[in-house]
């Protein structure tokens, strides 16, 4: 019998009124390449859209990108909405250029963690690093994907 090895499902997109499309496309290919099933919502994605897509696709994690500097505002309340929608405990990660200008990243990360994000990543994080972190977060160590 062939056991269908279910791929981990990621919902990705660029949050808020942000139209930076290039990084999103790169991440889509990188994640797919790495063996994830990727639901890509593109740019200008609202919190509700991430959540709706995650429910239907039974996603394993939501990967939020924010490039234009308003990430903090756009991400506020997302964890609470996930809880409300029955996505309790779903891993939420965020990256890109999530805040304006140069700020100490430890402080930025802390603020996002306080908001309920599992991980926040500094500008310039490479796709490989991102994939590594996701595998760790989803307990995929050693697993063949």
């Amino acid at each position: 019998m062939i056991v269908e090895n279910k791929k981990k499902v990621l919902v990705i997109g660029v949050i808020g009124a942000d139209v930076h499309a290039v990084g999103n496309k790169i991440l889509y290919h990188a994640f797919t390449e790495a063996g994830f099933e990727v639901v890509n919502l593109g740019v200008m994605v609202s919190q509700e859209e991430y959540i709706a897509a995650a429910i239907e696709s039974a996603a394993d994690a939501i990967v939020v990108s924010s490039l234009y500097g308003q990430g903090e505002l756009d991400c506020r309340g997302m964890r609470q909405k996930c809880d409300e929608a029955g996505l309790k405990g779903i891993p939420l990660v965020v990256g890109g250029n999530i805040v304006i200008g140069k700020q100490k990243f430890e402080e930025v990360e802390k603020r996002f963690k306080d908001m309920g994000f599992d991980r926040a990543f500094p500008p310039g994080t490479a796709p490989e690093t991102t994939i590594e972190a996701l595998r760790e977060l989803l307990h995929m160590d050693g697993e063949q994907v």
Partner: protein, 485 residues
């Protein structure tokens, strides 16, 4: 000469159409009151007698029928997220010609079950989850449904991972499994499910509703009436081998109880700076406004548009309009018949019904200002470039002001967010042949298309319709918007 008889069993009228296929001509049409409660044959016989008188024939070589009698095809749907698989289920049902009497999302509750039993649908459409996605919800809903031992057929078209398990849960019921209506996020795949729905309609429902007796003599019923109309509209828009269509179109049928809107158009964003949001909609899309109609649903028009606009457009005082509307609610079979007040009122109501129904059918566009300037977000279909509008319905075909009424289907600067056609020609189905031509198209598409092009009354560019509408509105002292700025 080869003759074909086409019959549409409606809820109030049986409509008959006879065509000469070889010469591609309409031989005649007739209608008779339908009496489903007693014997549908009476209406049919009366209709046939009237038709034969017009055509001079007493037999026809072939016969095809469609039906919306006995409430039509009544469906209830359940999906997971309302805007996603919930909406996919609704669109699939409407496109199959159904009257959707209940839409559920997430997990069904005991109260929902009670309502479902009360509404006793002809078919239940059970969906939820993308392929490989959420299975919990559809399995829960299958178990809930099984607990009431449904006597109606259940079509399962959700997450393929859960489909067979749902089927087992519902064992002993009449169950059909179809491919997922939303196999991937944002991908709508509804054709197979619609085919299945239509098949069940033919095999089961027609018989259950006692319609088979009437049709035994003639032929099998092929499809629900709205589905026939949708097929006629697809053919008219796209054309067929050897005969071009008229291009993308919007069609509106304003009835007594409901207003149906069809669009055969791509509708995707026109410009690079527009982002599309939400579920992509079907190329051939049908919506039904159950609260917008000229008699049974007259109040819905007033609620949507406001009595002030009814008054302004009709030239009647608010009080007089309200009096007449109250009377029409009581006497739903009343027609203007030359009465100038009623004519003016029906003109206003039909115009507003079209405006409201097409606005709900069409997509919207929203402007957002980002730091780099304007960006647009589109939801639903962009119909601004559609250049053909087809209209039908008693209130539109029995008036000389059809063009003016049809102009209300169009874009208005007062509602710039609504993506309705900007400049369109108007075609009027005065002889009520759309459903018949949808039926005929199953075997004789080219003939059906040519007859439609010949029989639909063409009103040329709506630029004229607009100016006429402008004149009519200023004449009645109105300050209504004009379609073009």
């Amino acid at each position: 000469m080869k003759t074909v008889l086409l019959i549409d069993f409606g809820s109030t009228y049986t409509k008959l159409t006879a065509v000469d296929v070889d010469n591609e001509t309409l031989l005649g049409t007739a209608a008779a009151y339908t009496t489903v409660q007693t014997d549908i044959n009476d209406g049919l016989k009366a209709g046939l007698a009237a038709l034969n008188k017009k055509t001079g024939h007493s037999t026809y070589d072939e016969c095809y029928t469609c039906s919306s009698a006995a409430g039509g095809l009544r469906m209830v749907t359940s999906g997971l997220v309302p805007e996603l698989t919930g909406e996919a289920a609704r669109l699939a049902s409407l496109g199959a010609g159904a009257k959707v009497v209940g839409v559920y999302a997430f997990q069904l509750t005991e109260d929902d079950l009670q309502d479902i039993q009360d509404s006793n649908p002809d078919i239940f459409l059970l969906v939820g989850g993308t392929d490989g996605g959420n299975t919990e919800c559809i399995l829960h809903n299958a178990r809930m449904l099984a607990s009431i031992k449904p006597t109606f057929p259940v079509v399962i078209a959700g997450n393929r991972t859960a489909a067979r398990q749902c089927q087992r849960i519902l064992e002993g019921c009449d169950v059909y499994v179809c491919p997922n209506v939303m196999p991937k996020f944002g991908v709508l795949k509804i054709e197979e499910t619609q085919k299945q729905i239509r098949e069940i309609f033919l095999n089961r429902i027609i018989q259950a509703k006692g319609l088979s007796k009437a049709t035994e003599l003639l032929s099998d019923i092929m499809m629900p009436t709205p589905s026939a109309v949708l097929q006629a509209m697809e053919l008219l828009a796209q054309g067929c081998d050897g005969e071009p269509g008229i291009g993308e179109l919007v069609a509106v049928d304003v009835g007594g109880a409901t207003t149906d809107v069809y669009s055969v158009a791509d509708g995707m964003p026109e410009h690079m700076n527009t982002v599309y949001k939400g579920l992509p909609e079907p190329y051939a899309k049908r919506t039904v406004e159950g609260d917008i109609g000229m008699r049974y649903s007259i109040q819905g028009i007033v609620d949507a548009a406001g009595i002030d606009r009814v008054s302004r457009l009709s030239g009647l005082t608010c009080q007089r309009a309200e009096e007449l509307i109250a009377d029409l609610k009581e006497h739903t079979d009343k027609v203007p018949n030359g009465d100038p007040e009623l004519e003016a009122l029906d003109f206003a109501l039909a115009s507003l019904a079209i405006e409201e129904a097409v606005t709900r059918h069409a997509g919207t566009i929203e402007e957002t200002y980002t730091m780099m300037g304007q960006t647009f977000v589109q939801e639903g279909k962009n119909l601004t470039k559609v250049q053909q509008i087809v209209v039908t319905g008693g209130s539109l075909i029995h008036t000389a002001r059809t063009e003016q009424i049809a102009a209300f289907a169009q874009y208005s600067p007062k509602k710039p967010a609504s993506l309705r056609p900007k400049q369109a020609d108007v075609w009027v189905d005065r002889t009520y042949i759309l459903a018949a031509m949808g039926l005929l198209s199953q075997h004789y598409p080219k003939t059906a298309l040519r007859i439609m092009k010949k029989e639909l009354e063409f009103y040329g560019n709506s630029e004229q319709a607009d100016s006429r509408r402008r004149v009519s509105e200023t004449a009645s002292g109105s300050a209504e918007p004009v379609a073009h700025g």
